[in-house]
């Protein structure tokens, strides 16, 4: 389930969003990358080329790390938040951008005209969003390696959800298909909340391993005493996975209360501005989850919550099924 939905948000092909969005996002991406290059020069000096190059190669290779998800299926790291916490948000987003661009130009993975929004969703939002979440969480976490690892877990998970939210917002402005914002937002955020569990767990364990060996290499822990950091943090992996899964379900149940009220905040904006004159209710209206309220359940709050939870479970099942298809594709790709 981790592979396919990740691609749905990311590595979008040509023409997936309307040209206007492609142009605007491309301009933003170029500006941020230019500033990132300057910041990288300031931070790394003449070590910039070899260090950023090898860090980018690491992110590229880290995306090949398949980790187990459930019952033998595997997922892989996206790495935006991890890169930011290791190297700072500017260098971090720069190197993930390098990876995204190389994947598009050399591997046809992501369209050339989609580079703007792919870069924003996969590197800029994950690196800066992940970094911002990390800094905020560090304030409430203990100032030791356990605090850094815990903040990494949550921040990396949040960064993936932010990325999916960014995609949904771009969809609001440049949808290429008559699928309503609500549907896209619900599906994307739901799926990515689950992907975020894996991303958070793996990122945290990577940071824990780096802290144990070279604590000076973790930019996100630069303010802490190195001697304290090298003491290993104990991470209860199993507790984390189960806890994160349960909190995802809770979040789905709670968020659905706000997200699906018609018209919700963003959609209201879009309606006022006339952006979504073409967006309509979708064909699943007659299904039992139409508008995310379960028919047959009288209490509106309970009904929405049930729909939200069911949404998470269904996306999980669909993602699991799609994984089979993507695996078939992968096998033929090596030729």
């Amino acid at each position: 389930m981790f592979d396919t939905p990740a691609i749905v948000a990311m590595h979008a092909p040509d023409g997936f969003l309307e040209p206007g969005v492609a142009v605007v996002t491309a301009v933003i991406a170029v500006v941020v990358t230019a500033i990132g290059l300057r910041r990288a020069t300031d931070e790394l000096g003449d070590r910039q080329v070899p260090l950023a190059g090898l860090a980018a190669a690491f992110i590229f290779a880290a995306q090949m790390f398949n980790f187990p998800v459930a019952a033998g299926t595997t997922g892989h790291l996206l790495g935006g938040a991890l890169a930011a916490i290791l190297l700072g948000p500017w260098v971090g987003s720069l190197i993930v951008t390098v990876v995204v661009v190389v994947q598009a130009v050399l591997f046809a993975d992501g369209g050339l005209t989609a580079l703007g929004y792919n870069t924003i969703n996969m590197s800029i939002v994950t690196a800066f969003g992940g970094w911002a979440a990390f800094r905020l969480l560090r304030r409430v976490m203990p100032a030791n390696s356990a605090g850094v690892v815990g903040a990494t877990a949550l921040a990396a998970g949040i960064s993936v959800v932010l990325s999916s939210a960014a995609f949904s917002i771009e969809w609001l402005f440049g949808a290429s298909a008559p699928v309503a914002f609500d549907t896209v937002f619900g599906a994307m955020v739901g799926v990515h909340a689950l992907i975020g569990i894996g991303e958070g767990l793996i990122s945290a364990l990577v940071i824990a391993a780096v802290l144990a060996a070279r604590p000076d290499l973790v930019a996100g822990a630069a303010d802490l005493d190195l001697a304290d950091l090298s003491r290993p943090a104990r991470v209860g992996t199993r507790t984390f996975v189960i806890g994160a899964f349960l909190s995802t379900i809770v979040v789905a149940a709670v968020v659905s209360q706000f997200a699906v009220d018609n018209p919700d905040g963003l959609e209201k904006v879009a309606e006022d501005e006339g952006f979504i004159s073409s967006a309509r209710d979708h064909a699943l209206d007659s299904s039992i989850f139409a508008d995310y309220a379960t028919s047959g359940v009288d209490n509106a709050t309970v009904s929405l919550a049930v729909a939200g939870v069911a949404g998470v479970l269904i996306t999980l099942a669909v993602g699991y099924g799609l994984l089979g298809a993507s695996r078939l594709g992968r096998r033929t790709q090596g030729a």
């Binding site: 396919t4 691609i7 749905v8 590595h11 092909p13 040509d14 023409g15 290059l37 990288a40 003449d46 070590r47 080329v49 260090l51 190059g53 090898l54 190669a57 690491f58 590229f60 290779a61 880290a62 995306q63 090949m64 980790f67 187990p68 459930a70 019952a71 033998g72 390098v98 994947q103 130009v105 591997f107 046809a108 993975d109 005209t113 989609a114 290429s176 298909a177 008559p178 699928v179 549907t183 894996g198 767990l201 793996i202 990577v206 940071i207 391993a209 780096v210 144990a212 984390f240 189960i242 309509r280 209710d281 064909a283 699943l284 298809a325 993507s326 594709g329 992968r330 033929t332 790709q333």
Partner: protein, 255 residues
């Protein structure tokens, strides 16, 4: 979809001596972008534009003598989006059309066609570019197109060390498998993540060593120019010829 990239970037280039292989890389890059942009901005209902564009891509593939098998295999990266395109007519709203007794959204069908056509043509164009141009050529081409040198040097370093890191990753995996590591659930992922952490430390330290070695060889913060191959002329006609049919049809139909 990092898992499917294979290990060697150099394998992407298929050696050959066709007219497309011989074109200057920077011209090829401009031609590819111009072509893909003209396809991406085409309105979805202009089926003939996509037909012409697809014919153009197929012609390029034939002329460059890229085996159809290789092209199709590399197109597999867009499969997940094709799956999504198939779903859109079922969840899409608006006017409905009966197809084989199933009610489908008309707009959804157009959207599916739009996503599938643009993704396929765009990916194919990138595949032609990568298959006919060596990586060093591409880097040189982007340098001639005024992409900052620093950025190109970073990409060059990444590509140069990627195989090495992937091999290191493979050895770690072998070592784990040799010790009967066969995780099936997410909470068993710790050894893998620890290996990733170790790989980062080793990569970063390699970067530090490489930097020292570069300093020892007189590095001043600027990479020496990539070897410029002498090319008799800049074949700019290609940058016009490749996207021309698409643009022509597009303009004719919109008039």
């Amino acid at each position: 979809m990092g898992g499917g990239h294979g290990s060697s970037v150099d394998r992407l280039h298929l050696a050959g001596d066709t007219i497309i292989h011989r074109l200057a890389p920077h011209v090829k890059i401009v031609a590819t972008f111009a072509f893909v942009i003209s396809v991406a901005i085409s309105p979805r209902q202009r089926v003939e534009v996509f037909a012409v564009a697809f014919a153009c891509v197929l012609t390029l593939i034939m002329v460059a003598r890229i085996p159809l098998r290789v092209w199709l295999a590399r197109c597999a990266v867009i499969l997940p989006f094709m799956t999504m395109a198939v779903l859109v007519p079922f969840v899409g709203g608006g006017e409905q059309t009966e197809v084989l007794g199933v009610s489908l959204s008309t707009d959804g069908l157009w959207a599916a066609f739009n996503i599938a056509a643009k993704a396929l043509i765009g990916a194919s164009a990138s595949i032609v570019l990568a298959a006919t141009t060596p990586v060093t050529g591409l880097l040189e081409g982007f340098a001639r197109l005024r992409v900052p040198r620093v950025l190109i040097s970073i990409v060059a370093f990444m590509i140069r060390y990627l195989d090495l890191l992937v091999a290191q990753l493979g050895r770690m995996r072998t070592a784990m498998v040799a010790r009967a590591h066969d995780p099936r659930w997410l909470w068993q992922a710790k050894p893998i993540a620890s290996s990733a952490g170790a790989l980062f430390v080793r990569s970063y330290e390699r970067g530090e060593r490489v930097h020292q070695a570069m300093l020892a060889r007189g590095y001043t913060g600027v990479m020496p120019d990539l070897v410029e191959q002498s090319r008799p002329r800049s074949d700019w006609w290609a940058a016009i010829v490749v996207p021309a049919p698409v643009v022509a049809v597009l303009v004719l139909r919109l008039l």
